[in-house]
Amino acid sequence: MDTILNIRNLSKNYGRIKALDNLNLEVKRGNIYGILGPNGSGKTTTLGIILSILKADSGNFEWFGGQFGSNPRKKIGAILETPNFYPYKTGIDNLKIVAKIKGIKDFDFDEVMRLVNLEHRKLSKFRTYSLGMKQRLAIAATMIGNPEVVIFDEPTNGLDPKGIAEVRHILKRVSESGRSVIMASHILDEVEKICSHVAIIKNGKLLSTGMVGELLSDNYLIEIGAFNKEKLEQFLDDFEHLNKTRFMNDYWICTVDKNTPVESISNKAFNAGLILSHYIVRKQSLEEEFLTITKN
């Protein structure tokens, strides 16, 4: 599988704030790549640099192995932060501007408007669109010119539940179309469902990267509760290879080192005289993995 994006030692400062710190990433063709990170972690800065609207202080990146010269962005469809269009122009006219920039002559604008369910509003001015419609128009714009890669930055930000569901449905269709997708998002459930690969960044540094399945299979989670809460807490503190992450209403969620046999935990609890009220062993969700990684 060939590399479509190679980021090498990318750094960027905003005054004294380090937005990116020697970031390295590689995205292969066909990957649906999720970039995760808390607010201010450097996700949008990374996307801004690879889309040439922000200047890196050091490091570099290369699209498609340099195949499309100095301006490969015509082969990329992207939305960064908010949908940006001319408010006084109609939806379809805004798409025509995108097509003109990309040098696309024959394009079926109606079809792409149908895809995002905006056909009935194609002649309305952009400023009259709801936020959900604006976001859908932006997704339509990314489809123009049959791009090799599509980039979405927080595509469901600010949308109501109906809007989120609509955009999620469209994203799923885009990801199924065989294109490479790079998506920065807070919504981990979304990333877990759509993405094949994920990179977790915090403070501009890459904390973890890999296939979603690989990232999740390393650690187990146990949910453990007991009638005697003090004794349970003492037990968990004393147990090596077990880390308390969160206390829910009446049980703890703990991560377990992958080499520790999870069956032994209940036996040890029994031997320690603990009567368990709740005990579930399961794999980590991406959200939990994310919280564990970014917490450390």
Partner: protein, 270 residues
Amino acid sequence: MKFTKLIKLEIFKYKDNSLVQMLLLFFTILMPTAIFVMKNMQIPMLPGANSYFSFPQVWEYQAYSGSWLSFFFLGYLGVYIITSEIQFKTMRQNIINGMSRMDFFKGKIYIAILVSLYATLLFFVSTAIIGLLHQDAFDLAEIFEKQYYVVPRFFLLTFAYMVFGMMIAYLIKKPGLSMFFYFSYILFIEPLFRWWLHIKVLGQSKAIFYYPMNAIEDLAPLPLYKYAQNFSPKKDFFMLLSYSEATIISIISVIAFIAISYYFFSKRDI
């Protein structure tokens, strides 16, 4: 992108913009009519009002009134076409969509050239019509008497105001602040700075005139200044740059405005 593609794209972007339409409409209406404000003016020792409208003087008076319109409407248009792209974040989206920064920049310069050409054509046609209506006999030599360069000077003046407005917009980015600075710089900041430096600090010399906005204004000065200059008892007294000096300084200024704009646009985050 090619010149024609860029210019078509820019026209397509702005053809539905009501502010752009209004600025051009006001300019188009006022260009042939503003000079008639002078119809009722009668200043002692100066030629009668009707002489303003006859060849060859009409070129100078019309260029002067047109220069205010260019400064006000088209210079502001220069500010607007950049700040609107920043405000709507379409500048960054154009780049994301695959436009190079150089193409984006060239597109704006081309539109400034196109608008300046339109303004110059309007100036030429309206002046010719006004002059011919006030002329008894058609005499080509008299029509253009010593005024062959007024048309290209008017183009340079309009283009200079537009690229100056664009430079301010590239530097300041905020629409309101850019507009305020554009008008303030031309009307107050440069004249006050010249007065302070060359009258208060260094002492008066001809250097006081060698400033970009002053030179651009002197491409189409108020013709009455010439009379004032003629009436002065001092031989070395002058209020205006010669046309050739004004043209050279204006061209240098325009090149500087474009270079500064491109430097900041290409180096900065957008």
